[in-house]
Symmetry: C2
Subunit: 248 residues, 2 copies
């Protein structure tokens, strides 16, 4: 299955939703092409847009990221990981465990959408600066309620894992673990003051983040130029005016 190349299509200058797929491919140490970051006639954002908008794509994805593997073209981040998990050995074998891992990923994607909307609560088509007042209110509600609710849920999932709190599913790293790592890393970048407070209530999440960062393949990736740095064009953005400690 892994003799055909994995081609990831995602925006070339941000981590964004594509990063959940990059982390899985990197952790599994399989070769892949990050198409929009490749130079030349078959690379760049143009190659990605051709596939999305082209009249010849039978099943065009609604939005990046999407993955091409042989004849199959898959969109939606969680769906890509549903497909890749078994191929990359990043999910347990049983159906119940796989549905559970997917449920964790889907909840991570809901969390990500809410994180995005803290800085773009009106429209992705407008600049942040054009929705400052709304962002202030939305981020306030996120800090007051939603972030702790999501993080607390993941903490509970870790605490209740029969195989122990080191992993979300089973007794080995899954793509869900990689995704929770990414959520913790992103929240630290975007909301450093608030996150410092939230972390005190989610020690298992913090420990998981630390452990995932030490997986050799992940550590090598994070230290490489393939890991795009967090920046204020992505989903996790650091706007100090949106970040306050809970007791401020």
């Amino acid at each position: 299955m892994t003799d055909r190349p994995f081609e990831l299509f995602y925006w070339p200058s941000i981590q964004g939703r594509g990063e959940f797929v990059r982390l899985a491919l990197e952790a599994a140490e399989v070769p892949y092409v990050d198409v929009a970051r490749r130079r030349g006639p078959h690379g760049g954002v143009a190659a990605m847009q051709r596939l999305m908008q082209g009249g010849t794509t039978a099943r065009p994805p609604f939005a990046p990221p999407f993955l091409r593997h042989g004849d199959i073209l898959i969109g939606q981040t969680a769906n890509i990981l549903l497909y890749l998990g078994p191929l990359l050995g990043l999910v347990p074998k049983g159906e119940a465990d796989r549905l559970w891992a997917h449920q964790l990923q889907l909840t991570a994607m809901d969390f990500i959408a809410e994180i995005h909307d803290t800085h773009h609560p009106v429209s992705s088509g407008l600049y942040y600066e054009d929705q400052l007042a709304e962002a202030g209110r939305r981020a306030g509600a996120f800090r007051a309620d939603r972030a702790a609710k999501f993080l607390g849920w993941f903490e509970q999932v870790l605490a209740r894992n029969p195989a122990g709190p080191a992993h979300l599913v089973g007794d080995a790293p899954s793509y869900a673990d990689l995704s929770l790592f990414q959520l913790v890393a992103g929240l630290r970048f975007a909301f450093p003051r608030a996150m410092a407070g939230w972390e005190r209530s989610v020690p298992h999440c913090v420990a998981l983040h630390r452990a995932v960062a030490k997986i050799p393949a992940v550590a090598a990736y994070l230290a490489s130029p393939r890991r795009i740095a967090f920046n204020n064009d992505g989903i996790f953005r650091h706007y100090p005016e949106l970040d306050h400690a809970n007791d401020d």
Copy 2:
């Protein structure tokens, strides 16, 4: 597989995300229990909340809807349909088709989240009346851009289906068709003026809505008291101030 009872857990007074699951179970004519709508000690919202918050639930879902079937408890609407599709005969058999149907459902869920946020752009924890200004802006962006983009994408998917535009996947009704039916019905309720304009560009979507409503099991469901009427507590809400024709 269907000898064990299907138990759906969802809010009892709205269609919401649970309706996508209800439609699948109804279309397949399998018996199920809508637990929170059942009277008695094992019913009501309390039964749903016990399962979510209970200290004994090994894999508690983050939010409704969720489905219990035998030993398995599944959360996330699209994940429930991923599981139910093959059991209910509501998805083609091949892996590629199943991933594609799931991708369609995940995109429908993204659409639903944006529809929800037109009236709750700041927080689900606040009343609509406490976020009127933000809702006005968010709904404006939704009407100007997002709704037509999502509907146009589904229209394109129908147009490109090699088996013809009557279905999203393959040549028979799938849960994705049922979901697109629900999106059209809900948009007609929430945004009747704007939707009248959008519909002119998506004839295949309109035809699919009509055809799904005529499936005997669906028609019987829609005419029954089991179908909760659209109302302004759900995801699709009709606030005239948020609905304008595109050329207004």
